[in-house]
Symmetry: C2
Subunit: 301 residues, 2 copies
């Protein structure tokens, strides 16, 4: 296939998965007509119509590799995206980042109020685990427990929430590249990595090479985020740009400069591809995973 | 057995379960020496050395009825108590109840800071689900998924978090007894009821009569809480007394007066006993459940 055709094909696939996950989220979130209506409305506001859906793209791309049932992937992707949405709602609150703009919309605590934002995040987290416990997302109950465990470890105090705690403590400090990596592997990498693993777990055990791919893409995502924070506008990002340096947060740009950070992201992208090479055999469907890795690193927003 | 002996026997049992759950929580919470240390320290501060452990008492009493393995009950009780602890940490935050005292200690956002309190609650919730996914808490994986589902439904937007949202909206309003019940069945009742069900699920399906017992005890707990809020001191309660009326919150006392509320709690206590009667056959171990129902209603703190 010519490069231009590949690109158009990827864009079409991405659009179809984004529409699919939007519908799955809409279906799996409580209806705004059910009591407590305001909370349910705010949960839908927080989780719907937003973002690039990078994690669901990874879940579906991994699922394609292993031939997973798309109905199972819906559940896995919804669960991961709900955890991600909850973390954004809480991170935006006044006591953490105090941000007013997210995914091009007013943040939940601005659109509603702080107490509602707190409960929205809490309830979205619960719902993620409820979905995975309620729906047959894997071939058997033991595999489903493994999915639940994977998601919980990624989200918890040694994963995403822990990374956020380290980030808070690091504000105003200078971190080494190793310390930055320790933080970001948890704050962003853990959940991105879980998105990949859950996609594979819908069909069977997750291959080790896929875990390697996931870890590299997860870290690359954060490096690129740091670069974009300094170089793109708020309108392009759909969230407040330039806030890392304003808040004195250590980033890959502050640690190694923008040019070296871009180069590091490129190395991670190639590393992600290399991990997939070991899975390559005639008929292996690694193409989507390669495209998503490229998208994560080469995106402009 | 004479009444006085029964009472001493119950006090001894309660003390032993409280010590047991304290040890199980200490074992299952991340060590304060692991990074992020401050977050882990604060999680332990929030969950350890606190409260009457009513939910774990119910889990163990239900487990005794069905002959459940105590090691499984440890996991179930820890998971429920972590959800309860997370909800207290978040409810105490400035954007909700803005409280400074809890279980006789300074609240987490006062002892640490608001951002840490937010993350402590988030991470305790995650850990509850992680525990149930990681440890063999039931006879097989399908039953364990049922436990996870039960806990998630009880904690989520149609359970505890939803009840909290209704409570927020109700502040300053007068509610009918039916509306109060709708709120409290969710806010407090759902998790108390889950504590009972999870204890039974450690060994097999939960008998319908036990669910009835659980619902009645759950509601009774809240009615008594409302009464104690107006009649006991902060020192006795270990949390700020009299704050419901100060915050204009509708309670059973404001809805029906203290005397009628006490009587309602007594009716629920007898109803809980009546539910157990249907389980009574020679050798049935309903005694602990009866004692816990009595303790919940007759407690002074």
């Amino acid at each position: 296939m010519l490069a231009i055709e590949t690109e158009a094909d990827f864009a079409a696939w991405m659009g179809s998965i984004q529409a699919r996950i939007e519908a799955a989220l809409a279906r799996n979130l409580p209806g705004a007509q059910h009591a407590p209506a305001r909370l349910h409305q705010a949960m839908r506001y927080a989780a719907l119509e937003g973002g690039k859906r990078v994690r669901p793209l990874l879940t579906f791309a991994a699922g394609e590799l292993v031939g997973a049932d798309p109905a199972r992937l819906d559940i896995a992707a919804c669960a991961v995206e709900m955890i991600h949405s909850y973390s954004l709602v809480h991170d935006d609150m006044p006591c953490i980042d105090d941000d007013v703009l997210r995914r091009g919309k007013r943040t939940v605590h601005v659109e509603y109020d702080e107490a509602t934002a707190l409960l929205v995040g809490d309830a979205l987290q619960t719902l993620a685990f409820q979905l995975l416990a309620e729906h047959p997302a894997a071939g058997n109950a033991a595999a489903q427990l493994e999915m639940l465990r994977t998601l919980a470890v990624a989200a918890g105090s040694r994963g995403m929430a822990g990374g956020q705690a380290i980030d808070l403590e690091a504000t105003g400090k200078t971190l080494s590249q190793a310390e930055l990596e320790f933080m970001h592997v948890r704050k962003t990498g853990a959940l991105i990595s879980a998105a990949v693993k859950l996609g594979a777990l819908c069909a069977g055990p997750c291959p080790a090479a896929l875990e390697q791919y996931a870890n590299r893409v997860g870290l690359a995502f954060q490096v690129v985020d740091d670069v974009l924070d300094t170089q793109a506008s708020s309108a392009t990002l759909g969230k407040t740009a330039g806030k890392d340096s304003k808040q004195g947060k250590p980033t890959y740009v502050s640690a190694m400069g923008a040019a070296r950070a871009r180069q590091f992201a490129e190395e991670l992208r190639l590393g992600a591809h290399a991990a997939l090479d070991t899975l390559d055999h005639p008929g292996a469907r690694t193409q989507r995973l390669r495209q998503v890795a490229d998208f994560v690193v080469l995106r402009k927003f």
